[in-house]
């Protein structure tokens, strides 16, 4: 498989000393899992028994393991991860996936535990044999080169490597304050070395806001707001805003390419403060890094009067943080492959220091190969919908089943095995979430104990004693309550967005299972708490685990009303629309299907995670980074059900 290994081997000749190094050094291998560990666990694949450890960071990974669904956008992100892994490295793919920008995998495995167990020996063998290869080639996918070239081009034009131009916050944080003063003096702002992230929607062309522009100026600097920024609500703090900055025009999208070069327009007369006389190089001196070496572009100060500038005057009109200081913001991606957060979640955080001023979750691109398969025969629809969300397939299977049954005007049948499967999946899903939550809050014991219980329940689903003991231990963990209470409170006006355990923790006791006769027979009462914070959500999920255990027992004791219904496969003329609701582990999901001559032609899925994404984009503000991540993790968003 040498051809597949040219992108993973180090350049050089393999000598015996190197071979010995490879053999001993690669006994411990680290795997970076795409899209995420939670998907791997939900597929039933246990990594611990293979002797591999998980890498949280591409720099410490040796193997990139791709399992699970990989829509086009995620494939590009995975290619970036692969490009950032130090060699020698390996690409391993489980299952039949199209991994377009990535090269052909060095190891292909079936999507089974046996396949996973074969990964380590195979990887050791390959790496030892081909860790160094003279024919190693650079992995240069086109999109990465384009992005980097685009950024370099801007950098060459404007000559700034070290000026940071963080994304423009309409409601918030500072831009390069100097840039505004430059604006006032009529010079074009230096470019932004804007990261063109891989996904389109994130194109923030950070452009400084010119405050108090004299009318003579023609620089129209408007922040490019992408369609997502519908909210320009100011954070409820005492940020002082320059007056002109308050109404950015969302429609304008001024590409930076148009602003090539420094246009030194004439310094306008008028009420200009002597801002052009600022000691720019000195002030920026401690921010310029030596090897970045670029001077401030557009700073042709030669003809200007270098008067004295006090800091107060220079920073007079800048937007300020909550405590009144004008500082610079940065923006970072915390997804899609961030340890602890759901795999595949496209999260970007705008940071002021380590305060999160805004969180933006972008829905992923829908998987074209999946969408192309409609219209589907009715009997294939339920498994197809179950494949939509690898984290909770049984719930969506049941949902599709019920919707189709209603569309075909079949009598409402309740299937005990399906409900029992749903409840068991609920327990598994909550444990899966707990494992990742343990990573987010940095609690080693919680993570390990939850993982241990998860695999225990996978083997023998009915273990009430183990679950009860675990829940009791978690509740008594020291300092856990103190660190999670007071974090992640959803403001009252937004509570209607909440579903599932998030809503239940806030006191909203809506649950789709209340309306189900079988559940009513089993005596189901939804859990409600009055703690609208991360601790409350954790408690609700733990409580739901116990409740689901109990429900499984009670449901099993009920008289089965009918066996599992199967769809009449001969009914070619079935037509109609159907609607069903199921309480997935993350909340109530609703599905509407349209049937025509036995085929599903259209469907609409309302998943709870979509509402939670809207929630995140609105209420995660002014929180410390750790708290913000805990909040987002506590919402248990499933990125597979939120698509653009």
């Amino acid at each position: 498989m040498l051809s597949a290994f040219v992108f993973g081997a180090r350049a050089g000749r393999l000598s015996s000393w190197k071979q010995w190094l490879l053999k001993t050094g690669f006994q411990t291998l680290k795997v970076f899992i795409v899209p995420g560990e939670d998907v791997l666990r939900a597929l039933g694949l246990e990594l611990a028994s293979t002797g591999l450890t998980i890498a949280r960071n591409p720099r410490e990974a040796d193997i990139l393991l791709i399992t699970g669904p990989l829509p086009a956008g995620l494939a590009e992100n995975a290619a970036v991860i692969f490009a950032q892994m130090p060699r020698p490295r390996l690409l391993a793919v489980m299952g039949e996936l199209d991994i377009a920008p990535l090269p052909a995998p060095a190891i292909r495995l079936p999507l089974t535990q046996a396949g996973l167990l074969a990964l380590r020996p195979e990887a050791c063998r390959l790496l030892t044999a081909q860790g160094w290869a003279p024919e190693a080639q650079p992995f240069a996918p086109a999109f990465i080169e384009q992005v980097i070239a685009g950024q370099q081009e801007k950098g060459d034009h404007k000559g700034s490597g070290s000026m940071n131009h963080s994304a423009m916050e309409p409601g918030g944080m500072d831009m390069e304050g100097m840039m505004k003063d430059l604006d006032r003096s009529g010079m074009k702002p230096p470019p932004d070395a804007a990261a063109l992230p891989v996904h389109g929607p994130h194109e923030h062309h950070s452009m400084p806001k010119a405050a108090d522009k004299p009318s003579g100026e023609e620089t129209t600097n408007e922040p490019a707001a992408d369609g997502q920024h519908a909210h320009h609500t100011m954070p409820p703090t005492d940020t002082k805003e320059p007056p002109a900055a308050d109404s950015p025009d969302p429609g304008h999208h001024q590409p930076h390419a148009a602003q090539a070069g420094h246009e030194h327009s004439a310094i306008p007369a008028g009420p200009m403060p002597h801002t052009e006389g600022m000691d720019m190089p000195d002030m920026m001196g401690d921010q310029m890094k030596p090897e970045a070496g670029a001077e401030m572009p557009g700073m042709d100060m030669s003809g200007m009067d270098m008067g004295f500038m006090s800091m107060v005057e220079m920073t007079k009109d800048l937007p300020r943080s909550a405590d009144g200081l004008p500082m610079e913001a940065s923006e970072a991606a915390f997804g899609p492959f961030f340890p602890g957060l759901p795999g595949g979640l496209n999260l970007r955080l705008h940071l002021d220091g380590d305060n999160v001023t805004k969180a933006v979750i972008t829905p992923g691109q829908p998987d074209q190969s999946r969408a192309d398969r409609l219209p589907l025969p009715a009997r294939e629809f339920a498994p197809w919908l179950a494949g939509l969300d690898p984290l909770t397939p049984a719930a969506y299977h049941l949902l599709a089943h019920r919707a189709l049954a209603q569309a075909m005007r079949l009598p409402a049948t309740a299937a005990l095995p399906q409900l029992i499967a749903l409840e068991q999946e609920r327990i598994a899903s909550h444990l899966n979430w707990l494992i990742d939550f343990g990573v987010t809050i940095g609690h080693a014991w919680l993570r390990q104990a939850a993982e241990h219980l998860y695999w225990q329940l996978r083997q023998v689903p009915d273990q009430p004693a183990a679950v009860t003991a675990f829940v009791r231990q978690v509740r008594r963990l020291p300092l856990l309550r103190q660190s999670l209470t007071g974090v992640g409170q959803i403001p009252a006006p937004l509570l209607h967005h909440a579903r599932g355990p998030v809503a239940k923790a806030a006191g909203i006791s809506h649950d789709a299972r209340q309306l189900d006769p079988l559940y009513q027979q089993a005596g189901f009462v939804p859990i409600v708490r009055a703690e609208n914070n991360v601790w409350g959500r954790l408690q609700v999920r733990l409580q739901e685990m116990l409740q689901s255990q109990e429900l499984v027992h009670r449901l099993a004791r009920l008289d089965p009303v009918s066996p599992t219904p199967t769809f009449p496969t001969t009914d070619q003329a079935a037509a109609g629309t159907g609607r069903a609701t199921v309480e997935t582990p993350r909340g109530t999901a609703t599905l509407e299907v349209a049937l025509q001559s036995g085929q599903v032609t259209a469907y609409t899925l309302h998943a709870p995670s979509a509402l939670h994404v809207a929630l995140v984009n609105e209420f995660v503000r002014e929180q410390e980074l750790g708290d913000a991540l805990k909040t987002i993790a506590s919402l248990d968003i499933s990125p597979w059900t939120i698509t653009a």
């Binding site: 940095g442 080693a444 980074l625």
Partner: protein, 300 residues
């Protein structure tokens, strides 16, 4: 450095101790004693490519790992292992230890800044906040031990505990020093700069290959040094019944280090500004009370 043989023994014990700490760290995570694992990890890091981030600050990037290692090594040099192996008997040893530990923060901040990445930047500045939190309890607890020994010479501090170990004489000081040591070595629950769940590797994320090896080695050395400091300043150093002095130091150090690894497993990572609040509202006044306590005890 009286006897080169004792020096050799001490060096071997120190090196073996550092290796044992690596094994202990894995044991606290995975529950098994994998004796060959640290050696394999070293080789693994050697054969990994070294990627240097673009537009990073060369001077800081290259200095950070070496400074980190050097700070831990220098602090260890002044701590005695036994009565006839006081190593570097620096008259201001207790002060020097503190000064060397300060460079740990400098190295981490350099590493965080140099890399030009947001995760690392966050980690670096957080570690500075951590220093502001742990520094006062550390120094004040150390001063209280110096008060009892009337000297900053670490060997003298050990001999001053002949009657009663400092852990019993000044328990508050011991508790504060222990927690401050955990924070200095950024072990869980204080692992803000390199957290996996919050910063995906943080400061160390962009260091690969030998530079990461130096960081990891430095951190193990730092934990060993801190455990040694706890032993010397609070646990009576080399004092003990049957075994020779350096064996007692070694055992006590390993015990303390094992407890370092075990403590954090059951605690979640708090916010580091909560750490700062608790440190300045409760830990620093407690440290002052401790000094007062020792002062009164000494006058009685």
């Amino acid at each position: 450095m009286e006897n080169p043989l004792t020096l050799l023994v001490v060096l071997l014990l120190f090196g073996g101790g550092v290796y044992a700490l690596a094994v202990l760290e894995y044991w606290s995570v995975a529950g098994q004693l994998a004796w060959g694992r640290p050696a394999r990890l070293v080789l693994h890091l050697l054969l990994q490519e070294e990627i240097r981030p673009r537009q990073s600050d060369t001077v800081l990037y290259e200095t950070a790992p070496v400074l980190f290692l050097a700070a831990a090594a220098l602090a260890a040099a002044v701590l005695p292992w036994s009565a006839d192996a006081p190593l570097l008997g620096l008259a201001t040893g207790a002060l020097f230890v503190n000064a060397a530990f300060a460079y740990v923060m400098v190295a981490m901040l350099m590493g965080g800044w140099a890399v030009n990445g947001v995760y690392a930047m966050l980690g670096g500045w957080r570690f500075l906040g951590q220093l502001i939190a742990y520094s006062m309890p550390l120094v004040m607890a150390l001063t209280a031990t110096v008060m009892r020994a009337e000297s900053m010479l670490p060997a003298r501090i050990v001999t001053s505990q002949l009657a009663l170990w400092n852990i019993v004489y000044q328990p508050i000081g011991f508790g504060l020093f222990y927690l401050a040591a955990l924070a200095l070595a950024f072990l869980p629950p204080f692992d803000f700069p390199v957290a996996a769940g919050e910063l995906a590797g943080g400061v160390w994320a962009e260091f690969t290959g030998t530079r990461l090896l130096l960081f990891r080695l430095g951190r193990l050395l730092l934990i060993m040094t801190l455990a040694l400091a706890v032993t010397v300043f609070f646990l009576g150093g080399w004092q003990g019944p049957w075994l020779p002095g350096f064996a007692w130091t070694f055992l006590k150090t390993l015990l303390v280090a094992a407890s370092f690894f075990g403590v954090g497993r059951y605690l979640p990572r708090l916010r580091y500004d909560q750490l700062l609040e608790w440190s300045w509202k409760y830990a620093t006044p407690a440290a002052l009370v401790n000094i007062l306590w020792v002062g009164i005890l000494l006058l009685l």
